[in-house]
């Protein structure tokens, strides 16, 4: 139902109609951004639920005339997490594994016990490597790895809550690699491979 059949308009439209060339990496970036959005909204949902639980607890405690702060601190530390599992921590030593994880104890701003895990990837030819995972909203700029020039090993420390995490490496901003040293995640995100990291209770 074209109301304009003017020849010039038809020619203009024809010149504007060819679809642009699209680099597959562009579409991949969209999916990474969407995955990050999904993770953000999921984390926001969990935080909101936790806040509401806390508000409810505060009200009850105030009514009972108890010292809420002490109780809450205890409750926070005991906040439920996914079933404890043994960590698949691989020490990064002189044997220089192609990739792996090492762990030590830390604590986050909400008082939750964390483990700092070192992720390692051997990629001597890479220009940049970053870690993406459920813990950083799949943000390829949040956790960039550092290269050791001597060994060609890239490493980075992430502080993780106990439980199961899915992660991957992004090499040179475009190649998505799962960690060859960790078990493969079966719940692929947007058809992309990921690895599973189990962080045990500290």
């Amino acid at each position: 139902m074209h109301d304009e059949t003017d020849e010039t308009i038809v020619r203009i439209a024809a010149a504007l109609r060819p679809l642009p060339d699209v680099d597959p990496a562009e579409k991949a970036r969209v999916l990474v951004a969407v995955a990050a959005e999904r993770e953000r909204s999921r984390v926001a949902g969990i935080r909101a639920a936790r806040r509401w639980r806390r508000v409810g607890a505060l009200g009850a405690l105030a009514a009972a005339g108890l010292v809420a702060a002490v109780w809450l601190r205890g409750r926070d530390v005991a906040a439920p997490t996914v079933a404890a599992t043994s960590a698949t921590t691989t020490a990064v030593g002189s044997t220089a594994p192609s990739s792996g994880v090492g762990a030590r104890l830390a604590r986050d701003d909400e008082g939750m016990k964390l483990k700092t895990v070192q992720l390692v990837l051997r990629a001597p030819a890479a220009r940049t490597v970053s870690v993406v995972g459920d813990f950083n909203g799949w943000d390829a700029h949040a956790n960039t790895m550092t290269r050791d020039p001597a060994s060609g090993l890239w490493s980075h420390n992430v502080a993780l809550r106990p439980g199961r995490h899915v992660y991957a490496f992004v090499v040179d901003d475009r190649v998505w690699l799962r960690d060859p040293r960790s078990p493969e995640a079966t719940d692929e995100d947007f058809g992309r491979p990921g690895s599973v990291l189990l962080v045990g209770q500290p």
């Binding site: 139902m1 074209h2 109301d3 304009e4 003017d6 020849e7 010039t8 308009i9 203009i12 439209a13 010149a15 504007l16 109609r17 060819p18 679809l19 642009p20 699209v22 562009e26 579409k27 970036r29 969209v30 999916l31 951004a33 969407v34 995955a35 959005e37 999904r38 909204s41 999921r42 969990i46 997490t81 996914v82 459920d134 813990f135 993780l160 809550r161 106990p162 439980g163 199961r164 995490h165 899915v166 719940d187 692929e188 995100d189 947007f190 058809g191």
Partner: protein, 204 residues
Amino acid sequence: MPRPRSLQLIRPAPLTDPPEPGSAAERSLLVRAAQQGDVRAFAALVDAYYARCLRFALHMLSNRGDAEEAVQDTFVRVYRALPGYEERESFEPWLFRILANRCRSAGARERRRSELVEFGDVPDLPSERRHDDAIAWREEIGRALATLPVEQREAFLMRHVEDLTYDDMAIATGAGISALKMRVKRACDALKQLLTEDHGARRD
């Protein structure tokens, strides 16, 4: 940290005739599956619509980086808004509504930036390569399009390049049909004038 949601792959009910790849029926199945959390279906939608969205954004904005950003932002917003999307609306005008809004915001940013460029910075010079006539013609069109007011450019592209109906354009822009027809007419008049006046030789 809770266990990540496992993949919810929605398998559509078997049909006697499977939908043609790329057909409206297939897209509607994809939209429904994506709405129910199927990330692969959402990835397929991105795959199906990315180039078209980028074409629209490139014609609305003058640089590729801004266009890519607007399209990426569009799909993030589509993902966020999918749960509230109702199937009685068609997907395409709904997608174009979000895309057009993103392009308008990016265009406003771009205009602010180009105002700054005028005072001192040297903009990228056009490349020295020789253009053939088709490329030169497309560039002239691009320059002419850029002179149109945003709502006219948008209406012209939706009607004549994206082939949306006026009903769909009304959904996409929120404007009434008679207003949209007026915008398209004004855009056509301006483009004809700009592209035939300066380059009368092109009027075959």
